[in-house]
């Protein structure tokens, strides 16, 4: 069995089309983030989050109503995995003990025949939340920077670095945008929290992995076919690595899908982000990264008055 053996698809030639598709999706994601704003979780916003286990099915609306009264602010209440578990998130004022006791007592009084127990709690002070948020931001920026430098060192060519990093930003923005737009519309938490940052950085690593394999092939082919124009070499390289890209993405996608379905409630958002990221990351490695590197080289060639189209400038 073989897939994409001797594939010869015109990836590079049709790059205007891919730019259009990517640009549209990217802009939608940016617009979504701009309009809705990033939906921060407790980690980055500060607040208190509790998982409550009921004996029987719990009525979400009713729980929200009684807690709104007793906490004097409306908490976020939603099902957590099973029908007997609820996730309660609040920014109510007062010390941690007060809020926890308040929720405990209110639920016990309001639902005497359906015992409720707090099984998980997560409390973050607003200042600490800022620290975590800053850490997350720094780590993303550092990751982009480090990857740019590494690719530049290995390929001695800033166009490739830029192509790789543009693809990265493309993948992460689209994933983030999708999460922002879909938050509260899917039955699991899609807030921007630490585990989503972990997923985003993993997508960084994953997407760059695919891209580097293609670049590596381009580098090799540049030495083998010295007379061919760069766009043909690039297209050939993408096609040659296509089956590997698809197989690796496929196996990874499969295991992440298993994790998403069977991995339990806590890992739902992390695995969902990975699912999206792997699909988008694979797409960008095939369609976007090399195309951008090519166009940047062409641009440089035309700007600096070289008559020939850009040639093997990669070592």
């Amino acid at each position: 069995m073989r897939i994409f053996e001797n594939a010869n698809i015109n990836f590079i030639g049709n790059r205007k089309l891919w730019y259009l598709i990517s640009g549209t999706v990217f802009l939608t994601a940016v617009l979504g983030i701009a309009i809705r704003g990033l939906q921060y979780g407790v980690d980055f916003k500060g607040g208190q989050e509790f998982v409550v286990q009921f004996q029987k099915t719990a009525n979400v609306t009713k729980v929200r109503d009684v807690l709104t009264k007793s906490l004097k602010s409306q908490p976020e209440v939603k099902q957590y995995g099973s029908k007997t578990m609820l996730l309660i998130r609040t920014e109510a004022k007062g010390t941690q003990t007060d809020v926890e006791d308040n929720i405990n007592n209110t639920l016990k009084q309001s639902f005497p025949d359906n015992q409720a127990n707090i099984v998980n709690s997560y409390i973050v002070g607003p200042r600490f939340a800022d620290t975590l948020k800053r850490g997350a931001l720094y780590s993303c920026i550092t990751a982009v920077f480090v990857i740019f430098i590494y690719v530049w060192l290995r390929f001695r060519n800033w166009e490739y670095s830029t192509g790789a990093v543009v693809a990265l930003v493309h993948d992460v923005t689209i994933t983030l945008g999708l999460f922002t737009i879909l938050d509260h519309h899917l039955p699991f938490s899609m807030d921007l929290d630490e585990s989503l940052i972990a997923a985003l950085l993993t997508i960084f690593g994953y997407s760059i992995n695919d891209t580097v394999v293609v670049f590596d092939r381009i580098r090799e082919n540049l030495h083998l076919f010295k007379t061919e124009p760069l766009d043909e070499i690039m297209n050939k390289s993408v096609n040659q690595t296509l089956s590997r890209t698809i197989i690796t993405s496929g196996t990874t996608l499969f295991v992440v899908l298993v994790l998403f379905i069977f991995g339990g409630e806590v890992l739902k958002d992390l695995s969902f982000a990975l699912l999206i990221g792997i699909v988008v990351g694979t797409y960008s490695s095939i369609f976007i990264a090399s195309a951008i590197a090519l166009d940047l080289q062409n641009w440089r060639a035309s700007t600096y008055g070289k008559t020939k189209k850009a040639k093997a400038s990669v070592r």
Partner: protein, 604 residues
Amino acid sequence: MKGNGVKIGFTIAFLAIAIYYLQFSVRYWLLEKHVNSLSGNTKTEYVKQNQKEISNLRDRILNLGLDLQGGMHVTLQLDTPRLLIDLAREGGKDTLLTNTVNKAETIADKNNTDFIDEFVNLFEAKDPNARLSRYYRSEADNITRRSTNAEVAAYLKKQRDSAVQRAIQIIRTRIDRFGVNEPNIVKQGHNRIAVELPGVQDDQRVRNLLKGTARLEFHLCAEPAELQSSLKQIITYFNKQDSSAANDTVAARNNPLLKVFVPQGQSVIFGSATAQDSAKVDSLLGLSAVRTMLPRNVELMWTAKPSFTSKDGNKYYNLIGVRDQVELTGDVIEEARPEFDRYTNAPEVSMTMDREGARKWSRLTGANINKPIAIVLDGLVYTYPRVITKINDGRSSITGLSSTQEAEDLVNILMSGALPAPLQIVEQRTVGPSLGEASIHSGFNSTIMGLLIVAIFMILYYHKGGSIADLALMFNILFILGIMAAFKATLTLPGIAGIVLTIGMAVDANVLIFERIREELNAGKSMRAAIDSGYANAMSAIIDSNITTFLTGAILYSFGSGPIKGFAVTLMAGIVSSLFTAIIITRIVVDYLTRDKVTAVSFG
């Protein structure tokens, strides 16, 4: 084929190391299962007999994160501004200092800069000629009147470091007395302490245990007559605040203070309020115009326990007038014991003072017969008993405790020593044990399922080559767990996700190699030559792509917290071990299989 001896040697060595580190976990798991099958006395007896082996093993097993075994994670922050004020001479009374400290705190929070640097900058901005050394002196650190501000700043940073270190020690003592297996207490940044307590569920009790500064103070109380007259003044003041008030009765209804405060004025009790309203009362009474109406050198402090419950079920706390002079501190306490009151059987803590303390105590009680003395812990009045006779033996006790447990915890806090500055809880995570167990199950199941899917696919797609890659995959998982056990890393739930992800990506190196071999075969090379150049040509792609992924893992590790670090560790361990298994181990097997005839292996 040449040089495979070295490769085999490495493989066997790594395998041995991985197995060595993992066997502890397996033995511990078996032992735990055996212990759980026993019951009652035999169980306690068995655990006692094998205590040494159990704790030996426990030190070396693969640690499970709190999200998998249940427990509590708390991040504490040292109150550095308070420390700076306490360190300064007459610090609390100097408004220039307190204002600068407060402002510096806000700025440091906003810009995420070092609080002490901001403090020094701000101080210099206010008066370029002023010297911080007028507040801070230390013979030991050579800080004199002539020291420059930079020297003082360095001294303050040193003090902060040592305060955090002391706080860590004290917390460790408290937790050990509380009885937690394997607590993990580490410093984080300049002024934070991360505490991990596996298996602990009673979060409220632990919170109080960690937060209590254990500043025990003995104060004389205010004169009741003085207190009463200033109470009257203050109420009148707030009545006048409402200009719309036509007469006194309307004013009383609109009096902002009386809305949240029940005035008392009997003996040393100033008044009462509920816990929710106490902050409001504090801010009203803290107005500078109001403060001048209080008797000189008197401070108002809340009681630790409610004194009565109103008809609608609200609990009221008393506000007590005490002299601000501290007569005795907790330093003189030599021993503290939980006890019961002889008559009421209520829990209390009885304390014995050292010789110096006993002498002062005797003088203090002798001079104040028939007057109340307030015993204040962390700014809350626990009791204010009336002195009946002069006490010569240095004994005193804290009453007004709600349970024996509280008495025990208080003894624990008192005996562990006082924290150098208050600690605030900035983050807390509690995971119930049942949820942890469910997480292990779902994590484990999805790992196995993911593994099977990938393994079957590889065999179908790459035939014999695929089964070799699968073999490498098994080694890979063994290595990952071995690396984690050896480096004492902690397996968290996101960590399991990391392993699952690694399984997906681990085959990547083999996919790269096998695809390459297929290409070389298509190009007309012989099997042997195709294998050789397949491995050789795929290498640079494998190395580059894995290094970039490893770098993001390292970044994640350095910035992330708790569970996310666990994810990063498994990701990095996974990359290292999958590189090794996919490149070295598969090569050994492929070479071995093709030693006689090359057709013994196929790549689909």
